[in-house]
Subunit: 485 residues, 2 copies
């Protein structure tokens, strides 16, 4: 996103109908064909926006340092135009979550490092922003939200009634190698259900993401969800006698299937000690794209297939069947998933995963808590914006202010202030011009902030009375306006 | 704030009027006096919320670690009840800012350390959460937002039209000694005006804070603003021939006037090399409480007094005269202020400063940019909550969900899902019960989430037809309801 100030043509001069109002009563006194004399009067006052006339004369005793004016590598500023897009996106995240009855939560962006050190092999572990604080505690900027959520659930213990349906939108940090479009911080929308062992939970989570997509104009022909279950792998392990303790490591290797050559995958799997024969079988399982084929390979309907069948059946009831497809290669790169896993992808295959999640029924016990069945997803703010750009679906969001109020003479700043305050007391947004500025400047600013109504406070040159001049660009009835403030 | 689940009595059983709806058409079929048979039917289904029946049987190969379930010392989790309060507060911050025509911005929470290392003596410097990242860059969690704002303004350069009116609500970090109510992170609301040299800017900033106070029920008898100008000190320096390069150090010492004994202040001032006579005079200046007395001491109306007089005159126009008072002892603890400074305080004197700000016309040049006149304030989220507690003004905020939808039989989960989706498509919030639960459980949950309408999907025992049972706690007309979905 670039810093573009959207300038509308709303304030076309042909629409300007200046009207004089009595300052106190706001009743109309006299109409002028053009506001030219006010322009002249106002032009005499020097704006001087960049030269601070009352800057104190003291010499600064700082060591002069030219700092880098860019944010640290991999991080972002949010100037107004980017913040509007962020707010637009986050509001959709939040509104969808509330529509589904979820409650918002948050956790510290700085957590105890131990919370994120779970398992060797996880990429996340080597990308931690971690350090020792002034009290010699090992801390880390959170790379994801789920561990903090698990910590809070354990802490709350029996004081909360299950199930919990929680959502969060929070910033996460990973020290990644910088490539195009990949940053070191991103915001992540999470929705989690704690306390529901049934597949209805995963089905609802996917439904909420679909609802979000629909709201922002993304259709089932733009994106889809690949769905699988880690129980597939568990059942395979049982069938082929692979030791269960290899589960996490194998998942992390399989997650790279589409990113590195298949020979590399085989080599890495070989290092775990799995036999070559089992590796071939395993890779066959992960290339399966239909539940029927999977049933053949696993030799019957186990928990994995039953769960997946239930999910596809629920998808029909939720109304998003066309969005999901079975794909055994989806395992997600986090070691804590235990059941259904899913991943949102763009059908053109241009982008990384848009979102992902699944069931993590045993995460709590890894932190010393009692396990509670749980599932959730993470949805970043980066890939979705890329997708919206691709599909030309980015919204045009300008600043919107109802009134711009300006004194055309320095003496009238007080009067303008009073009018601005009256408008704000009525709940109307006001950009009050804080300096004496020429009329031309005011109109330029009014256009820039998309002000619907410029309110100019001026003096009549041939009279000692004070007036309020309203220049309106739409067919507002003067009496309506004066009675409305 | 404690974790209290607000249980309303809205779902008093005397109001329950169960009604059967045909599942497909949602037209009423038959009315029942009590839903007892549904209770019985549903009771047979085992809820088992905490025991996950389909938890996978694999052994977890983790090193078992009991992590601390509390957030790191000095930080907070935001469970739903705290998050509601945070959202309530932040929404007021944001709505007031928008009312005044300010645009929202944000910056990275992790910044280059150099941005915050300005001047020895500033408390803030010794409280930085700073470290070296994996790329050997010195970085720090931001202790305040203003330096980042200054950095962004320099970066934007001439591409933006002045003045800028920006606001932000962001988390800030300081490694402070933990005392009651003092944490190591807090959220801060900032409003800043870049490019206006006139006192109208400071006047508008104070007006926006007053507007915020009024909205949340705080009056001028609860809080006030102490206002001064650092030009007072500058003029004093000139008059008494104190070297200008002592300005920053003296400000930081004076800021402690109410916190440490006066003898300590004198000693610290002595270390700077100021003569004992000048110290006595200086302390006299800072004890002044009226502009007239100040005029006597400084010997005439300089810029300091002119600015302050203009501010008090504008306060009248903005309508907040009763909120502000002159107090020379206000200097703020940050070295970058150059003109008007102000501080919000509780009149009972129980709390630390509620907010504070002022003019910082020369901050940009300390970073190597061209100076632009600027002013702003910071308003933390901690002290204001303490004040609201003191004044018994904390709002009662419960979760609010329009519908709770529940299948009374496992077979009907799909039907319940379809109904929930239909309601959500209409924009109604829905908490869908994802497991088979007894009716009693559903009502308990409905009360907990403040659901206005429980929608129970059940089967008629004596019929093979399926029905939708609506149990409503208010006088909703059934036909209205069925036509509204």
């Amino acid at each position: 996103m670039r810093a573009i100030h959207i300038v509308t043509t709303r304030l076309s001069s042909s629409f300007i109908r200046p009207v004089l109002l009595d300052f106190v009563s706001c009743s109309p006194l006299r109409q002028f064909s053009t506001p030219r004399r006010f322009i002249c009067a106002a032009s005499k006052v020097n704006g001087g926006s960049r030269s601070g006339s009352i800057v104190a004369p003291l010499v600064v005793n700082e060591e002069f340092q030219n700092i880098d004016v860019n944010p640290p590598k991999g991080t972002r500023d949010f100037p107004p135009e980017d913040m509007r897009l962020r707010n637009w996106l986050f509001n959709h995240f939040k509104e969808v979550s509330r529509l589904f009855g979820y409650e918002e939560v948050d956790f510290p962006v700085l957590e105890t490092e131990a919370l994120f050190i779970r398992k060797a092999g996880e990429e996340i572990r080597d990308q931690l922003y971690c350090f020792e604080d002034r009290g010699n505690r090992r801390v880390a900027l959170r790379p994801e939200l789920t561990p903090s959520l698990a910590r809070l659930v354990i802490q709350k213990g029996k004081s909360v009634s299950l199930p919990l349906k929680w959502f969060a939108v929070g910033q996460c940090w990973r020290y990644e190698r910088m490539t195009r479009g990949r940053r070191r911080e991103h915001y992540q929308w999470n929705m989690d259900i704690i306390g529901v062992p049934e597949v209805t939970a995963e089905a609802e989570l996917i439904s909420s993401i679909v609802t979000f997509f629909k709201r922002i104009g993304i259709t089932a022909s733009d994106v889809g969800f690949k769905v699988s279950s880690l129980k597939v792998l568990q059942e395979f392990f049982k069938k082929y006698g692979v030791p269960e303790d290899l589960f996490g490591r194998v998942c992390i290797i399989i997650d790279k299937i589409e990113k590195i050559p298949i020979d590399e995958i085989k080599k890495e799997l070989g290092f775990t000690g799995i036999s070559d024969d089992a590796i071939e079988q395993l890779l066959q399982v992960f290339s399966v794209k239909s539940l029927d084929d999977l049933e053949d390979i696993l030799g019957g309907v186990g928990e994995a297939i039953a769960d997946l069948k239930q999910l596809f059946s629920l998808a029909e009831k939720f109304g998003y069947s066309e969005w999901i497809q079975f794909d055994a290669s989806v395992v997600r790169g986090l070691a804590y998933y235990t059941g259904i896993v899913f991943e949102g992808f763009d059908r053109e295959g241009k982008l990384r995963a848009i979102c992902g999640g699944g069931r993590y029924d045993r995460l709590l016990s890894t932190y010393g808590g009692d396990d509670i069945p749980a599932c959730g997803f993470g949805f970043g703010d980066a890939v979705i914006v890329e997708l919206l750009k691709e599909k030309d679906l980015l919204p045009e969001l300008g600043q919107e202010v109802e009134n711009i109020v300006c004194a055309l003479d320095k003496d009238l700043q007080g009067a303008a202030t009073t009018i601005a305050t009256a408008l704000k007391d009525k709940g109307q947004t006001v950009d009050l011009v804080l300096e004496s500025k020429p009329l031309k400047w005011v109109f330029k600013r009014a256009a820039r902030v998309n002000a619907r109504r410029p309110v100019l406070v001026g003096k009549l040159v041939r009279s000692v009375s004070r007036f309020c001049l309203q220049v309106s660009n739409f067919k507002s009835n003067l009496m309506t306006w004066s009675s409305s403030i």
